[in-house]
């Protein structure tokens, strides 16, 4: 058994789209958790959102694909508003990867990809299987196609979840703390895959606690605290020359 965790084959990115968030607000009952978020993610770039827990990072992501309906503001995908049309149509263009993978435990790895692919794209089983096997191959798990997710390690599960999201042909990928639930030794493989994806030109928004990843892979880093964007800019600027006390304090705690 090789001990090398070289990055898997770089996945093919079909058509990356740009994402723009303007004045996004979100209220949970009387509590406002997002106070007007502005964010520009040009096509083919990676934005990492960092910040203390409870700062609203995940809520921003969940508002982009409307798992949470925003209370106000705009979300534009390739320049067109996506908050007023069908949420199903929006989600076909935006892939999401979750902290806890959320693979379907009652289906095989292959079926985890084939099932949504067939329902959403209305294609034949043979076509869907071909796409699914290709995506699994890209994340280095082709031989696991016929096992249940329960028999995979956390890292393998997350790679399947990424393959599943990619199979839908999204224009933007959202990662919600994709490595936070993984054992430390499994984080590397998943991050390598995400880096490969970023390098291949996928538009990505990544909520992460992995500062190393943010520094290396991000074109833009956004620091959020208490529902607002405190600082945003290139990684070198945020990590090496933080301007606000809040970011300085945060970095002192995590680095």
């Amino acid at each position: 058994m090789t001990l090398v965790s070289d990055p898997p084959v770089v996945p093919v990115v079909p058509a990356a789209g740009s994402l723009a968030i303007r004045g996004l607000t979100k209220d949970f009952g009387p509590v406002r958790v997002l106070h007007g978020i502005d964010l520009e993610v040009p096509a083919g770039t990676t934005t990492c959102i960092i910040g203390p827990s409870g700062s609203g990072k995940s809520t921003v992501l969940r508002c982009v694909n409307r798992l949470e309906e925003p209370s106000g503001g705009e979300v534009l995908l390739d320049g067109t508003d996506v908050l007023h049309g069908s949420d199903d149509a929006l989600r076909r263009r935006v892939g999401m990867v979750f902290q806890h993978f959320n693979l379907f435990p009652h289906r095989t790895v292959l079926d985890n990809i084939v099932l949504p692919l067939r329902r959403v794209r209305s294609i034949s089983r043979a076509e869907a299987e071909a796409v699914a096997r290709e995506r699994l191959d890209e994340v280095g798990l082709a031989e696991k196609a016929d096992v249940r997710p329960a028999s995979l390690s956390g890292g393998q599960k997350q790679r399947v979840a990424i393959a599943r999201a990619l199979a839908m042909g999204p224009e933007v990928m959202l990662f919600d703390e994709a490595t936070s639930a993984l054992d430390p030794e499994l984080v590397k493989g998943v991050l390598a895959l995400m880096k490969g994806l970023a390098a291949a030109g996928m538009t990505m928004v990544v909520v992460t606690h992995e500062m190393g990843f943010a520094r290396e892979a991000a074109d833009q880093v956004v620091f959020m605290d208490r529902g607002v964007v405190v600082e945003a800019g290139p990684p070198a600027q945020l990590f090496d020359a933080p301007r606000t006390d809040r970011l300085k304090t945060f970095l002192a705690q995590v680095l």
Binding site: G95, K144, A150, S151
Partner: protein, 318 residues
């Protein structure tokens, strides 16, 4: 009259072999089958109705939720005997046109209506217990709410409550005895009624004890089946033939990338996360070619190592 006489009397009353033997043919000829017929049919209809109730009860809309709630409250709250009598005799004028006076269809209907209230609650609890992330993931992939519920959430919810469902079947087997209130001709009698009739003619309770034994023969294996299903599910073993196939097929596109490529990952699954890999491990230790590669392909297990594979074949059997 002393204590030993009293005990002897009780013994005769309960365990009179002659009386039991006289009742046995009827019980075997139709009693058992009638009881099973009632219970199986009532469960089948009850599962279908229960599923409808559960889907209504977990709906995003208020009206179906309220309707499901009212139905469940009514049929769970009434004594079974009352429902059976009301349905069985009340609807008889209508149904007798089709069933020529046979009380079974209405008896089964009444039992189903009661069972569905409980089964609906069982399914509903199962559906609600499915991790919220499952619905979110399928919705995030672009599947509609309907498809997500139908293909992802509900199948998992049902799987989780299979043990409770077997328990419900046991309850229905026992409740089926109440159908005798609707009036049964000789060949329609089920276990309890046969036992009761024989108890009266023999002036002895033994036929009822025999009926009780028959009920236990039906229900006790089922309670053990519940435990087996329960244990198997907690250990995460596949419940279906489909799942069992998982270990044996390896249609990878050649000798290229495999799970062992990323070091930690391969180690994780070989360490016991996978029941397939775990069951193959001792074999590997004993087998001649104990390469790490083989841990992911139990097909390569040498034939002499049959006992270690028993978990696999068990998985396939169910």
């Amino acid at each position: 009259m002393n204590v030993s006489d009293a005990l002897a009397n009780i013994g005769r009353s309960f365990l009179d072999g002659q009386a039991m033997l006289r009742t046995l043919p009827d019980m075997l000829a139709y009693g058992v089958w009638n009881t099973l017929l009632l219970a199986v049919c009532a469960t089948a209809v009850g599962v279908v109705l229960g599923l409808v109730l559960a889907v209504m009860g977990t709906s995003r809309h208020r009206l179906p939720r309220v309707l499901s709630r009212v139905y469940t409250d009514v049929f769970r709250g009434l004594p079974a005997i009352l429902t059976i009598l009301l349905i069985g005799t009340g609807l008889a004028p209508l149904f007798n046109l089709f069933s020529r006076g046979n009380p079974y269809p209405l008896g089964i209907l009444a039992l189903s209506l009661i069972a569905s209230a409980y089964i609906g609650e069982i399914f509903r609890a199962g559906i609600l217990a499915v991790d919220r992330g499952q619905l979110e993931a399928s919705r995030a992939l672009g599947m509609t709410h309907r498809d997500s519920m139908r293909l992802v959430v509900i199948p998992q919810g049902i799987r989780q409550v299979l043990p409770s469902l077997v328990n419900q079947f046991i309850a229905i087997v026992k409740d089926s005895s109440l159908v005798y209130f609707l009036g049964l001709i000789t060949s329609q009698r089920e276990l309890f009624r046969i036992g009761q009739d024989a108890a009266i003619t023999n002036g002895n309770l033994s036929p009822l004890v025999l009926a009780g034994l028959f009920y236990l023969v039906i229900t006790v294996p089922l309670t053990h089946l519940v435990n087996v299903i329960d244990r198997r599910m907690r250990e995460g073993r596949p419940l279906t033939r489909r799942g069992a196939r998982s270990g044996s097929v390896g249609p990878g596109p050649g000798p290229g990338p495999d799970g062992g490529r990323v070091s930690g990952d391969g180690g994780g699954s070989a360490g016991g996360a996978s029941p397939v890999a775990a069951s193959a491990d001792p074999v590997l230790a004993a087998g001649p070619a104990s390469s790490a590669r083989a841990s992911s392909s139990p097909v390569a297990v040498p034939a002499g190592a049959a006992p270690a594979r028993s978990t696999l074949s068990e998985g396939a059997a169910l």
